[in-house]
Amino acid sequence: MDVKIFQFNGCKKCFNETLLLKEGNKYKVEFISDPKKWKEEKVDVSVITGYLLPNDLEQLEKIKKNSKKIIAYGDCPATGGVFALANQKGHDVSPLTNLIKSTNSVYGCLGEIEELKLVIEGTEVPKLKGLCQVCSRKATCDYLEAINRQIELEDSESCFNDLGFLCSGFTASECKEKCIDYNTPCRGCKPSVDRSGIRMLAMFGTLAGNIEIATEHSVKGATDKLGDEDDDLTDSLPDVVGNFFRFTLPTSGFPKGRIPSSGTLLEDVFIGRLIEEIPLIAGLLGGAKSISLTLKLIESYEKANQIEVSEQTEKYRSELLQLEVELQKTIESEDASKYKEITDKIRSIAGNMNLSNVFFGGFKSIIDPNDDFNEYKAHVFDVVEGTYKNGSIEYTLDQTGIIKEIKISEELL
């Protein structure tokens, strides 16, 4: 079967993952990293990766005309993905279904290659379980006492939501990346229902039913009404869009935002996000330099705020950086088995390709069972206002830990 992979904009994580299609020589795969240079020949299956902008429409229509089947692979073309958070600042990142009709989608940030294979062949994808069904933690679904922003690693048996950590697992399907195994609550990259973000918001509104909320006296109605001022609920959730709509903003029915854009699309994705979510977001944005970008962001904060980093952490981090270089070489040589080997190594340290395990001050779960976890265990840190700089990146935090400004130089993109 003739399969062509088209990479549009953004991180190339899914595009690189399609290297695995070459294993077993089942398909005739061709990688097209610049769709504009494509010569428009007929093709059986076209796989679209990367986020899409309205000016990609012309190219997409050409692809549609020439292919028997078209598949959106990964969250960016399927639901908008993490780059669509820039829509909050007026960008127009759209999922493939909004641009051309009749498409098949493989969800997930990183989409699963096994699922893609099934969709390529036209076999039905088996119904997936919900993430909560495969989660090892136990839920009580009681009302929350408080909402906590930073993960504490003490309790590994209770549901994240019961502990107040906002997990979107209720509306997500089981997945391979499985952030929840690395003490990272789910952010819903693989939705199991439509408009999953809004549904999760409703669910969370219910769970937070005991948290103090502001009410005021309505003069005209002479009764109480919901208040306008900030309260415990809004204070403990400074970034609702980034938490609940991280991957699905364009498909949730909200119009694009009106916050003024302050730079490039990538910088707009970061602005408004919370400092403790940064490792995961930087890891998601991927690209060739995702590991160095993530570690630079973390290290600049650690250095300025004297967060101690153990030798063991440093060792694992430098191992990751080395693997990043090796991964790049492998991708250039299009060697599928080597790619698998290196990504497995990255997964063994960072948890998954989204770097769920990497955090401020250490790692969130044990890497090697023979290690003493206390040596590199991440812990809760204080949010400190200020400007942080580390070589090619610079960012400013406000007192609640929201990124107000960020500058990323081109060598990291």
Binding site: R199, A202, T206, K220, G221, K225, T234, V241
Partner: protein, 150 residues
């Protein structure tokens, strides 16, 4: 977005459909009382009766907004007087989160709201309706609603 200096008539034109979810107990009760007392309220108000405002969530609110509503409000029982358990408070939490989303996207948060009313007093419902329209006017002139700003 800068403040818009639209004339009053233009703003009036933008206030056509306001969906108000009223709970079957106090909310609808007070609207009934208002009807019996022949109190007048704005013709843009469209009431949808629900068993409890706890039934209304972001999905229903977004459905209303994307299908042409200019504003959405819930009117439930007074605090502590929910006829079920705490549906009105839960609904308030959801609406507060919705408001936060609209704010974060750069829109006004005044076009979704939650009120309470007393079944025996029709003026509480009518007062709430007036407040909904006042707030929608503020929303349109300031940062805009998701349907139509300036």
């Amino acid at each position: 977005m800068s403040n818009c200096e639209a004339p009053d008539e233009l703003i009036q034109e933008k206030i056509q459909n306001i969906v108000v979810f009223m709970c079957n107990e106090c909310g609808q009760g007070s609207a009934n009382t208002a009807g019996v007392a022949r109190m007048a309220y704005d013709a843009a108000i469209r009431i949808i009766r629900v068993q409890c405002t706890g039934q209304v969530g972001p999905i229903q609110i977004m459905e209303a907004l994307t299908n042409g509503a200019d504003a959405v409000a819930c009117v439930g029982c007074c605090l502590g007087a929910c006829h079920f358990f705490n549906g009105n408070v839960i609904s308030m939490h959801r609406i507060k989160l919705m408001k936060k989303v609209f704010k974060e996207l750069g829109y006004s948060d005044q076009f979704v709201n939650q009120y309470t009313s007393r079944a025996a007093e029709g003026e509480t419902a009518v007062g709430d309706f007036e407040d909904i329209i006042d707030r929608l006017t503020t929303a349109i002139t300031e940062k805009g609603t998701i349907k139509d700003g300036c």
